[in-house]
Symmetry: C2
Subunit: 242 residues, 2 copies
């Protein structure tokens, strides 16, 4: 335990930006529940913990600082910071993609809450890999990390040239399209790729010819669309239900 | 078109609070898409529109004000207000609950985004009624309205004494419980109640004995839980898939 210097605060605040997170291979988590879980499940990935006297840090040998609420407010991204703030190392293992399982492919998901929620769905169903276009929001964005509820530690995220990868993946590609086949009537393969598009514009025109199996969720009411994380949940469930 | 007086601004800002929205039976919508849709589908419920010169109001005979961006910032709830702001009348018809269809029952949903998303799911599947415990977040909360994407105009929301209503509803009650039966193996009734609990604490202890059919979504991976709107989507989908 030592004091948090002005330089350290400046350095921590630089991690609010994606550019610096990437350069340094670090990311931020906040709040009692999240940090407590990380101390149990992913202690080795912790770079630094800054905590107020309300947080019980227990046994932790890495770099840590007991700070005031005012200091916590200075480094936090939250409106109402919650007791503790930690910096973790990004998981940079270039793990291969498990093609025997369902893979989720995301084309330009923009909303951090949506990406985090989709990671949490993948984590629930035991999906190992999510492949993302480079236009998809950064999975180490603090709002994504928060919404993922720990999935960031269990689901492998791959940012890549999506068109190239889909062209070469040799798997059935299921694409969520409004004019796709009624998913409730389809026999779905156990392995394959489920491709989901951007919140506003859907799947990119260039990727549509790569879809072997266009699928859709039938609509019975008046809504124009479903939220992309909700649609992902319903479609993923169809792959696992039988 | 006329000027927005200081008193009017004060009155509009009072609607940021639930208490005043309830007293006056009004609510707020914001943004170009939302207001444009309302002008098409629910023009009669509009009490007032305040718009900047970037918004094309078209033919509207009700009360309206062309305002500056600065004035919009004064009345808006958004960090970056989007061209137009409107006040609508709440739908106070005491419509009866359609017991021939699936009904969603919500016990203490707190997050506005979750409630709005659940309303949008109901709207997609053509569910007419959502019954809510009085501890559930106000459906006219601006964040709920935003997330509902127009469902507020098509889905009937009923705030009531949930325990009493469930006790007397004479319908099969399906409750989402972690230790429930695997929903994928169940034969689900076409009408009935799907009861979903609070984000943190689940379904209230007092309501659990009222559940005839405890159901759950099987877990294949490491996540501790699913977001309540995601779980609602997967369960509602099961009722409609066959």
């Amino acid at each position: 335990m030592s004091d948090l210097s002005k330089n350290k605060i400046k350095w921590i605040r630089s991690l609010h930006q994606k550019k610096h997170r990437e350069e340094l291979g670090l990311f931020i988590i906040e709040g009692e529940k999240m940090v407590a879980e990380t101390l149990v499940y992913a202690k080795d990935s912790i770079e630094l913990i800054a905590y107020t006297n309300e947080f019980n840090i227990g046994q932790f040998d890495g770099e840590s600082f007991e700070i005031s609420i005012k200091e916590l407010e200075q480094i936090s991204l939250l409106k109402t910071p919650n007791k503790v703030f930690a910096i973790l190392r990004q998981n940079k293992t270039n793990s291969s993609i498990d093609k025997k399982k369902l893979i989720i492919a995301l084309d330009g998901i923009q909303d951090p809450g949506n990406l985090g929620t989709i990671m949490r769905i993948a984590d629930w169903y035991g999906i190992s890999d999510i492949v993302c276009s480079k236009t998809t929001v950064d999975c180490y964005n603090p709002k994504v990390v928060q919404a993922s509820m720990g999935a960031i530690f269990r689901v492998n995220m791959h940012y890549l040239e999506l068109e190239e990868w889909l062209s070469n993946c040799s798997l059935p590609i299921y694409g969520a399209l409004l004019e796709g086949e009624n998913v409730y009537n389809e026999t779905l393969s156990k392995n394959g790729v489920l491709l989901m598009g951007n919140e506003g514009s859907g799947i990119s025109t260039s990727l549509i010819p790569l879809i072997n199996n266009p699928i859709s969720i039938p609509r019975f009411g008046g809504a124009e669309s479903l939220n992309v994380s909700v649609a992902t949940a319903i479609l993923v469930s169809e792959f696992f239900r039988c």
